[in-house]
Assembly symmetry: C2
Homo-oligomer: 409 residues x 2
């Protein structure tokens, strides 16, 4: 059984296609989320179905997979049984835990209630709707803009924070300038807050410098060495004492294991992640694999815990699938090895950064092209790719973001 | 001032682009809805932004238009003033009423609570989400399918009902058969209920026959001469006494003037529509124009009240805009003349019907091509057209409907 239809769960199921096993894949949603592009949904650049793909669609040609949409309510590791909100409890021979994580607010007061995370497609839609709502509200009542209705604080100087701040800045300084010609730019500030002394700590200094410059060019104000203390709907208070007037706080910092993980009675690693052996199995339950954001996977090369990234999730999921296939067939299994294909991020149109494993870097338009190619290749179907290309081309040629509508249902 | 950003309001505003007037356009949403394609959103064929286009986007190059999103709460025709939920009250010299209508349930018990109309983009998303939810629920608990969870009753044998029933049937018999291979087709019935003796009363007999055949081919059961008496969440009761087990009732029959129209203290035509003179003005208030679904517009040629269609809304809106432009410039005005470009509808892939004004008809693939060309031409921007083409091509080539995801926010 596979719990979770993200990169990890899909990767595992795909690798079991030729195996003599019955796969049951359960996810809380009916779609697979392409998480690296969520910020593009939040900024109106991509439509929801370009980033959320029907899970069932991915298994039309794989007869040994049954898909269900349901919520997992408990796992009995001893009895090897999973309980669900609606489905009957189901036993398993092998289990792949690929349920992802949840946002970690590190105890910041008011964050759980008022911050906008960007971990799920629903998060992205909620953030987009909130931003559009604030701009329309300030259009009706300009005094709201004086109060910071259009200001946005983005927390976290990693890829999520930087990409979101950059894309929001292009939305703010681009199409919103035409949409709301009466709003002065100084009433629509975007502030990127990072606790450590610099943003993009995982990148080389030349990339950091380029990124800082690209953000500044787009009007993003970067505050490093600053920590958020509390959040209310209209104010963000920093530990330094600064109070920022902003009706939107985007939380791009930190994940943790969810309630289910904590309920398993297992010892957990930092961030409540599940400890796994080199084959990605739980030590006491070798029939259970944990992959993706839910697991603390050690990189064999560096002996460091791998970051919670889509590429790690996909590769670890595929490894779990392959390993189970081998075990079922009585073949030898191998320890997991992560193939680092480099790190990339987009700050805005024509401004991306790529850092390869060997230390080679790319910046600007070439990096943007590489970024686009890699992300298009990762999208699950040709139709998704075509959609993304139409959206990106439309945004590039006409500077429009056709997804900037708010449909209240 | 223009109230409403549908075909009528947009048409009026566009025709005032070269006029020396300040246009204020107010709509309750931030998007213009391409209503003729709502059924394609409801059936997962098109994404929301292909059918809902940002209103502000349409006026970037028209400096004399200010757009606001707000709800109209009242109109004082004597004081020539409009009141809003949030905006300050605003006076007008000319007013274009283009607020559309609301669904008329003709007093059917339970319909307002349980039926799914298809008049707004939110309606389309809600219907899609509901259908997807019922299929997933029946996948978890097959006894729900026995209870009619997957059966659907579509009320109304006009274009909305026929197009929706046809598109749903292709969804049911197409991709859902791959998505839910365990569901037998007889547990997923689609019934089209029409009160009069035949569907598509506005079309010639040859088109009616073709349509009945195309629907039957797709597994749609047509019940004519039947009237819905009451609706509960899981049952539809007909006046004939028949009780249908169906968890979904789509209401594709009838519109009426909304509360605002009724509050104006004016004499109303059938369906609570506003009476207008040949220039589309209110008799007692010649500075107020009513266009689109809100108005009872008499066709000069036939002396009949025109149907509530997008083409009537667009043409009447354009006429109001032109007429105001002429009045402001001191030029002569003309009575409204509707140019009937024919009626068209799509039953499914390769199966459309077209009836031209002169009586010429088209059926099948040729009609489908004509339908596609006309609808693409009507979409507001090239990007919207490209999106629709990608979605249609994707659906045609791979039989996929990538919009069939349910994002709960």
């Amino acid at each position: 059984m596979i719990l979770g239809g993200g990169f990890g769960g899909i990767g595992a199921a795909k690798k079991l296609s030729k195996s003599d096993v019955d796969v049951v894949l359960v996810d809380g949603h009916d779609y697979h989320t392409f998480q690296p592009l969520l910020y593009q949904v939040a900024t109106g650049l991509l439509d929801q179905p370009a980033v959320g793909h029907p899970i069932r669609d991915l298994f039309h040609k794989q007869d040994n997979v049954r898909v269900h949409q349901d919520r997992v309510t408990g796992i009995d590791l001893e009895a090897r049984e999973v309980r669900f909100a609606e489905l009957e409890p189901e036993r398993y021979d092998y289990l792949v835990l690929a349920l992802g994580a949840e946002v970690n607010y590190f105890g910041v007061e008011g964050a759980a209630e008022h911050a906008f995370p960007l971990y799920t497609l629903a998060d992205a839609v909620r953030l987009k709707d909130h931003v559009l709502e604030r701009w329309e509200a300030a259009d009706r009542k300009p005094e709201l803009a004086d109060d910071g209705a259009l200001n946005m604080v983005v927390v976290g100087g990693g890829p999520t924070g930087v990409e979101t701040a950059g894309a929001m800045a292009e939305l703010y300084r681009g199409v919103f300038r035409s949409d709301y010609p009466d709003v002065p730019p100084e009433q629509a500030r975007i502030l990127l807050v990072e606790a450590s002394p610099e943003i993009f700590a995982m990148f080389k200094p030349e990339i950091r410098l380029y990124t800082e410059h690209a953000l500044a060019e787009r009007g993003v104000e970067v505050l490093t060495g600053e920590v958020v203390e509390s959040v209310s709907p209209q104010r963000v208070t920093l530990k330094s004492g600064t109070v920022l007037s902003a009706h939107t706080l985007v939380w791009g910092a930190g994940l943790q294991g969810n309630e289910l993980v904590r309920s398993l009675g297992l010892e957990l690693e930092r961030g409540n992640r599940l400890a796994v052996d080199e084959e990605l199995r739980l030590a006491q339950h070798p029939e259970v694999y944990a992959v993706g954001d839910i697991a603390a996977i050690t990189d064999a090369k560096t002996d460091q815990v791998l970051p919670q990234l889509g590429s790690v999730a996909l590769q670890s999921g595929e490894h779990a699938g392959e390993t189970i296939a081998h075990r079922v067939a009585g073949k030898e299994t191998k320890p997991f090895k992560y193939h680092d294909k480099g790190t990339m991020a987009t700050i805005g149109r024509g401004a991306a950064v790529v850092q390869m494993l060997g230390g080679k870097t790319m910046k600007g338009k070439a990096a943007q092209a590489a970024w686009g190619t890699v992300h298009l290749a990762l999208l699950p179907t040709n139709q998704d790719r075509a959609k993304a290309v139409v959206d990106w081309a439309g945004a590039g040629l006409t500077h429009q973001r056709s997804g900037r509508i708010r449909v209240e249902t």
